[in-house]
């Protein structure tokens, strides 16, 4: 069992196969719901719910949350929230089947785990902010937008990957020797 696990932890799908499956899933999602996939939408609902619990009434007043806030409806009662719960379960299943489930910090050998966690938190803050400004993240705007040829989807895709490529040189010490 251990032998089997040891040998499977770094075996991933062929990227073209993974891409093909993801493409089929996007088609199925559009066929069923008329919209694409998303990853930040569910997170946003969770933020709104938290804010509403901590400071009742604030979400309704806030000029940003009020767009998504509906007195009749719990913000967690949202398609993307259910999808996000499924995502975590699905990723866990895949990881468990390949023996990758383990509490750890993954970092390059020359970077300490504390540093890695600091970088991850800065990246998360920027991504959270940017995804709201661009009306979607890599999944919701770039991937699902591009699937139906949205101009904004392609622009956001170029923005994310283009910027990361341009600035990669300055951040190389975080990732490679």
């Amino acid at each position: 069992m251990d032998f089997w696990k040891e040998n499977k932890t770094h075996i991933y799908w062929n990227p073209y196969f993974g891409g093909f499956m993801l493409g089929l899933l996007l088609i199925a999602t559009f066929y069923i719901t008329g919209r694409g996939l998303g990853a930040t939408g569910g997170t946003k609902s969770a933020v709104i719910t938290t804010v509403d619990k901590v400071a009742p009434g604030y979400a309704k007043e806030s000029s940003y949350y009020s767009k998504y806030y509906d007195e009749e409806k719990n913000p967690m009662n949202n398609w993307l929230v259910f999808e996000t719960i499924g995502m975590i379960a699905g990723a866990f299943l895949s990881g468990a089947l390949s023996g990758r489930v383990k509490f750890r910090v993954q970092h390059p050998p020359h970077i300490s785990s504390n540093k890695r966690l600091i970088y991850a938190s800065i990246g998360g803050l920027l991504f959270g902010f940017g995804s709201q400004f661009a009306r979607g993240c890599t999944s919701g705007a770039a991937l699902s937008g591009s699937a139906v040829l949205s101009l904004g989807g392609f622009i956001t895709m170029a923005g994310i990957f283009g910027t990361a490529y341009i600035v990669a040189y300055f951040f190389r010490k975080m990732w490679i020797n």
């Binding site: 959270g128 902010f129 709201q132």
Partner: protein, 196 residues
């Protein structure tokens, strides 16, 4: 004819059940492709692992072609599919901010959820920071609202913008995709291998 929920062929309750299964498939595919590893994801920017761009472009191409064909065959009403609206300014600036987030944090929101699911603490931290980032955005939203709505072009597609037919745009996109696949495989062979 699809979209099924649009034409009322699926009720809201079932739609939520389906959402969980679609999410599971999404999470499974990403994790199985190695997207729960920040070092694998970031390899795309340093040339030692191009999985991200291969998965991403293949998925986009398959979805574009598949949906167009389903439209031609009359299996789906292409005109009612949700086209992500284009706000030229916020799409560009938001993309740039996310680009910095990607190279510094090593994840994007979907992949950080995959990392979180298999117990990676960097994924947990990224996701918590994501929550805080969204919260900060909501606090400053009144100040940046005019920029958020700047350059509204509506639900425009890239083929409309370039004045091409969908089919021709897809044809050229497929050519570019194959070129990218080839160039990345050449670069991959030249870059020193990174073990992770």
């Amino acid at each position: 004819m699809g979209p099924l929920t649009y034409f009322g062929e699926i009720s809201t309750e079932w739609n939520y059940v389906i959402a969980i299964f679609i999410g599971m498939a999404f999470g499974y595919i990403m994790e199985a492709s190695g997207f729960s590893s920040s070092r694998k994801l970031i390899g795309v920017f340093y040339g030692y692992d191009f999985a991200v761009i291969r998965v991403f472009i293949t998925a986009t191409l398959v979805a574009i072609i598949g949906l167009l064909y389903m439209g031609y065959f009359g299996w789906i009403d292409y005109s009612v599919l949700f086209v992500h609206p284009t706000f030229i300014f916020s799409a560009t600036i938001g993309g740039i901010i996310m680009g910095f987030g990607f190279i510094i944090g090593g994840f994007c929101p979907g992949t950080s959820l995959c990392a979180l699911a298999i117990g990676k603490l960097d994924g947990w931290v990224f996701t918590i920071a994501l929550f805080i980032g969204i919260f900060i955005y909501s606090l400053v939203f009144p100040l940046i609202k005019p920029y958020y709505n700047m350059g509204d072009m509506g639900h425009i597609t890239i083929s409309e913008y370039l004045n091409m037919s969908n089919a021709w745009f897809t044809f050229w996109f497929a050519i570019i995709a194959v070129a990218i696949f080839y160039v990345t495989s050449v670069i991959r062979k030249k870059v020193k291998e990174v073990r992770y």
